[in-house]
């Protein structure tokens, strides 16, 4: 079944890195630039993320995300450039409107930070199958019940749109007009709600029965279908990331 996921199955090196390392990478990508104030660290981190995205061959999928956030970020730049409270030094004027150096620097820092977080999350989301992520979290001690809830949330939306499509097909197959003007579509949409909810209730009941007959709530120690991939490289990645965060803190304290 399709799941609500942006996962790209490219099978690159990055895809083989375990999800926990990627979570740790997100933490580092946020943490290091915050500790080491200033542009260099943030830009370096951003550069690294972009490089990893290229390696994972998913950069193309990130572009629309960046494009969308740019809309918001540009308005931040304009507003801060004009009205930032610490504005002193005029940088340039555009048609009689003055842009200030302090505001522009401040907003640039925000932009770097946002893009940084965005790219780090994109790296996780685009290169990790959601079920793998949840499985690793459960392995780390997350309750399997909660893990199941997480994965069903990812599935329930596509499942509901799927049900909607099937029911729409069933209705228009029997002469109900569902294409055309907004009014027509609205009239077709309303009677859908009942059956869609009904269907999900029925399938929820069936799924809980299916889970129970396979001893979902058994208290015995659970094993996993997939073997845990413990590789030295994954351990090295984690150690490097932790060390980098520690180094950042040390640098901040010393200098």
């Amino acid at each position: 079944m399709k799941a609500l996921s942006l996962y790209q199955d490219n099978g690159t090196l990055i895809h083989r890195v375990d999800p926990i390392s990627k979570l740790l990478y997100i933490a580092a990508a946020i943490f290091i630039p915050v500790v080491l104030t200033g542009f260099t660290a943030g830009l370096a981190m951003l550069g690294l993320s972009l490089m990893l995205l290229v390696l994972a061959r998913v950069l193309r999928k990130v572009v629309p995300l960046i494009g969308f956030s740019m809309l918001v970020l540009i308005s931040v730049v304009i507003i801060q450039g004009l009205f930032y409270a610490g504005n002193r030094q005029v940088m340039f004027a555009l048609g009689g409107v003055h842009f200030y150096r302090e505001g522009l620097l401040f907003s640039a820092a925000i932009c770097v930070r946002v893009l940084n977080i965005l790219c780090a999350f994109a790296l996780l989301v685009l290169t990790t199958r959601p079920s793998d992520l949840i499985e690793s979290l459960v392995r780390q001690g997350l309750s399997p019940h909660f893990g199941y809830v997480l994965s069903s949330v990812l599935q329930i939306i596509p499942q509901m749109t799927g049900t909607m499509e099937t029911i729409t097909d069933a209705q228009r197959s029997r002469g109900m007009e569902t294409e055309g003007s907004l009014m027509v579509r609205l009239r077709a949409f309303l009677p859908l709600i009942g059956p869609v909810v009904m269907n999900s209730l029925v399938s929820t009941r069936e799924r809980s029965l299916a889970l129970e007959v396979r001893a979902f709530s058994s208290r015995a120690q659970k094993t996993f279908l997939n073997e845990e991939r413990v590789s030295t490289s994954n351990r090295v990645i984690k150690i490097v990331l932790l060390a980098a965060m520690a180094a950042a803190v040390a640098w901040r304290v010393v200098s």
Binding site: A170, R172, R174, E177, G180, M198, N199
Partner: protein, 274 residues
């Protein structure tokens, strides 16, 4: 005029993965079975006839209407499709509402719709269940309801996708009777089906789909005589036909009655060679 005309039909869900390659066909009044391996593209084909999917290339013309130019709802008064999975079709909470939904939509009056719904439910043997909730019925009963709700629409063309799934002997006999009845009323009946014995007993014409093409097209007897080609499509002739071949009977009997008649004509039964 042919009720359905298909010219150079091409279809794929994702570009580069063709499902149907350049199919040209016409359907006259003969009842027709569509057979083929799982995944051969049969369901996709009938969804194209129904207008639920639109051709990537070529034309599908239903009663003179090109499906690319009409909405599914507008086509619904000409062509009815019983879905493969009844759960994809049933959405009302009362059997009677479910069966009357189509007829009312295509402009039958309340009385006419009720009459046709009652008749259709009686045909499938579920007249006593009109007030039940379809979700409480078994899969085989839901399948029969999905059949009744299309039959009640009284369209000129009716397509069944796997009508016999989950049916026992009497369910199959009900369905066979319905198909014969519809044919007698002059309707065009197309059926996708995996049960070769049912095909042999019920349909005049048979199409074999394989890898997005029509591998064989002819009278059911002609098609089932082509054992070699059928094997290519991973299909087998009906059991009686196979038995006839193994016992050295000439011709292609399609039903038990035909088999017995041939045997009698041939004289005493020879021992079966293993």
């Amino acid at each position: 005029m042919n009720k359905i005309e298909i010219r150079n039909l091409v279809f794929h869900y994702t570009a580069g993965e063709p499902i149907l390659n350049d199919i040209s066909l016409a359907f006259d009044a003969r009842s027709t079975a569509i057979i083929g391996q799982n995944g051969a593209g049969k369901t996709t084909f009938v969804k194209l006839l129904k207008g639920l999917l639109k051709p990537v290339g070529g034309d599908v013309v239903i009663n003179g209407i090109n499906t690319s130019d009409a909405t599914v709802a507008a086509l619904a008064r000409h062509i009815g499709l019983v879905f493969q999975n009844p759960n994809d079709q049933i959405f009302k909470n009362k059997v009677l509402d479910e069966v009357m939904f189509g007829p009312l939509n295509i402009g039958q009056s309340q009385d006419e719709a009720r009459e046709r719904a009652d008749a259709a439910l009686a045909m499938v043997g579920l007249a006593g269940r009109i007030n039940d909730n379809p979700y409480d019925l078994s899969l085989s009963e839901r399948k029969l309801i999905s059949i009744a709700s299309i039959v009640a629409m009284n369209t000129e063309i009716i397509i069944f996708d796997e009508p016999t799934i989950a049916q026992d002997f009497s369910g199959k006999e009900h369905i066979k009777a319905i198909i014969r009845d519809l044919v007698a009323q002059g309707k065009l009946v197309l059926t996708i089906i995996h049960d070769m014995d049912f095909v042999a007993e019920t349909f005049e014409r048979t199409l074999v789909f394989a890898q997005g093409r029509v591998l064989l097209d002819g009278s059911t007897r002609e098609v089932f005589a082509e054992e070699e080609v059928l094997r290519q499509a991973h299909l087998e002739p009906p059991h009686v036909t196979q038995l006839a071949h193994r016992t050295g009977l000439p011709g292609t009997p399609l039903t038990v009655e035909e088999f017995v008649r041939e045997k009698r004509a041939q004289g005493a039964m020879r021992p079966v060679t293993p």
